[in-house]
Symmetry: C2
């Protein structure tokens, strides 16, 4: 049930790369009842890799590594662990032919010889197929049943190999019934963490033996309920019940569960009502459009929009009146209203969404400080506006503006 995780790479140790693999592995393994009981990070050094894996094998007998399988000279995982298991490396010529074919198919010309390192496989190892890249993964096991699974460090490749190759293998190996950890996350936006706790009152620290965590982020505060030690069905029931209890108290702020993106919620609601969206963005410069169109299938709802960064574009393309700009300035409720109406008209959409603001760090005045943002949402002529002063840096102010705009539309639908 327990495994240790060793993430490999100078870039991790020195902090040049953020370790997203550890989180993904922990979450995915927990869902089948496998716990990561210890996590270590070592650099691209054969001796350090071997030592860390040896210690973990001695303690837990089950090790997953990520990283160090690439074609370049700083990739040392394969030889280091092969030596630890007392295996030599043998070339897998079939794999080489496949690699050459893949390279040609992608139109990248002759494959560099430095890729040959990737087909050197420890004798007796099982290859874990990489459907998303060129570095194969490796499963090595000794006579005593102690094992080490080597996954690549590139997140997309690691995730694919975990799902395709490692999870089925582990599920076959473990009886995963009795330490199931299950969670349910309720996503909220437009309310502070401490205020949420106040609204939840006696449920603020947990519901019915389930723990409750507050995870603030730029999208809002996620509430995570976690069940430990219950069986799978019992856990799901408890989570369902607790989630409904919480949602009842905070329905105004809750927009979805688990990984739901607010943009996806909006697209579903619009599709159900046959509404199409057009966006008019000033300070966010396309970010709202980018968030909406990040969702697969968004083309049935999103028609397009205008990035009206300069006032000329606000006037010339969106039809914002010069007098409105003169009287109220570009960052104003009135301009937000005209932008939303203008883009609806231009694109021929039922819904127009506009954002105009001061994202900073420069450009703020006493009257219109950095963080001031006006949002307009026009649904078939019904207009709602919202002025906020967001805190944070440029990226946060921009992101929060898109989140607020989406939330206004959500409440209107």
């Amino acid at each position: 049930m327990n495994v240790e995780l060793i993430t490999i790479g100078d870039e991790l140790l020195l902090g040049f790369t953020i370790d997203t693999n550890a989180a993904h592995l922990a979450r995915t393994l927990a869902s089948i009842g496998v716990s990561i009981v210890r996590r270590a990070t070592v650099g691209d050094d054969a001796a350090e890799i071997a030592q860390a894996v040896r210690e973990a094998l001695d303690r837990t007998g089950a090790v997953i590594t990520t990283g160090g399988l690439g074609p370049t000279s700083d990739d040392r995982t394969r030889p280091a662990i092969a030596e630890l298991f007392g295996r030599d490396l043998v070339p897998d010529e079939e794999r080489w032919d496949a690699l050459c074919a893949l390279w040609r198919e992608r139109g990248r010309g002759e494959i560099p010889l430095s890729n040959r390192g990737q087909i050197m496989i420890p004798r007796g190892a099982t290859v874990l197929t990489n459907r998303h890249g060129t570095a194969p993964g490796i499963w090595l096991e000794d006579e005593g049943g102690r094992w080490c699974a080597m996954l690549p460090g590139v997140p997309r490749e690691m995730r694919g190999m975990l799902a395709d190759e490692l999870l089925p293998r582990l599920q076959g190996r473990f009886d995963a019934a009795f330490t199931v950890v299950r969670s349910r996350t309720i996503r909220t936006t437009g309310i502070a963490e401490s205020k949420l706790a106040d609204v939840l009152g006696p449920l603020a620290s947990g519901v019915d033996g389930l723990s409750l965590a507050y995870l603030p982020g730029q999208e809002g505060v996620d509430l995570r309920l976690t069940s430990r030690g219950r069986g799978g069905i019992e856990a799901d029931e408890a989570l369902n019940q607790a989630a409904s209890q919480l949602r009842e108290l905070i329905s105004r702020y809750a927009y979805g569960e688990d990984g739901t993106d607010l943009a996806a919620t909006i697209l579903q609601a619009c599709e159900a009502r046959a509404l199409h969206i057009a966006v008019a963005e000033s300070c966010t410069g396309g970010l709202l459009g980018a968030r909406l169109t990040a969702i697969p299938g968004s083309s049935s709802v999103v028609l397009g929009g205008v990035i009206a960064y300069s006032n000329d574009v606000k006037r010339g393309v969106l039809g914002v009146q010069q007098e409105t700009l003169d009287a109220h300035g570009a960052v104003s409720e009135q301009v937000a209203i005209e932008m939303a109406a203008g883009v609806r008209r231009l694109v021929g959409a039922e819904v127009g969404m506009s954002i105009t603001g001061v994202a900073g760090p420069g450009g703020g005045t006493a009257d219109k400080p950095v963080g001031l943002v006006w949002i307009g949402v026009d649904v078939q002529g019904t207009v709602r506006t919202h002025g906020s002063r967001f805190i944070g840096d440029r990226a946060e102010i921009r992101f929060r503006s898109t989140q607020a705009a989406l939330d206004i539309l959500r409440r209107m639908l």
Copy 2:
């Protein structure tokens, strides 16, 4: 010179939150010669927190924690470590008044009482001011000089407190001369990791005693040179020299150093030539505009653009010809050319950039598979186009499209 890092939170242990703080801390501390020699992650449990901190104090005597300082019941760092140091918690009423004032100033009404937990300070501790949030940090030190610095878990707050409060304190404490780790990163795009190694030849595994790491990401491959053990001036000289050697070999692919964003490079080059940019985006839906306008000061170069997600918008707003759409389809070189020219005309910009493609996962055909993207860049009537088949998921295909578009413009300037 050595410290241990303990990151606190169920969400980290279970992988619900990605630990970006560890990387930022490692990198920032390394720059002043302080090494994180061990990293541990524990959950929101007072006993576990206390045990991890006790062990680290015994080993290294210097501990930084992140997380668990918030106002809610799952935030247990402060009481756990106070007890470990044998200190009781006393309310800091001055801080409470300041917190109430801040809350009012932001127009958020009466402050919830649950925030009072945040002003309970261990007796004799030094408060580390939080300019970006409500949770103060804490510095606790015992008679033997062993210390623990508690920072918040929210990245923006942690980073601010690290820069404002902890770094100056540590710099005063350590003589940081002799274990300096310095790095220089050369950013490349449009070339695969293994091909880069081939081009670099004998320099592929390091230059002049400096290690060379290959860090592939969706922006391209970063090459990181690292100097260890040299003095500061000597390290900088060696890095400068090695970086020029590498750049000479890969000048076609190298667009900048260290944290440079390709979009920022483009904006500088355009500003120097008094060129203004307009974007016309189909499958990227605003992402190119969002990337360009993410850079502070971009308004002097970026005028705006059109998100032409539907064909109606391509025709009606950008002036793409119906015949062109009929003859070649929306994802074609010809449509990319007309989009770039159309947005230049509409917005009145010297530079028009267009992207049209199949981002997937649906919508691909044998003829126009998922990942096929056409890019057009029109600089004052000089047009360059580029057709690619990008690999990856929807988000990667979209991001890589924007990166390729920016790179085409970079090479044209």
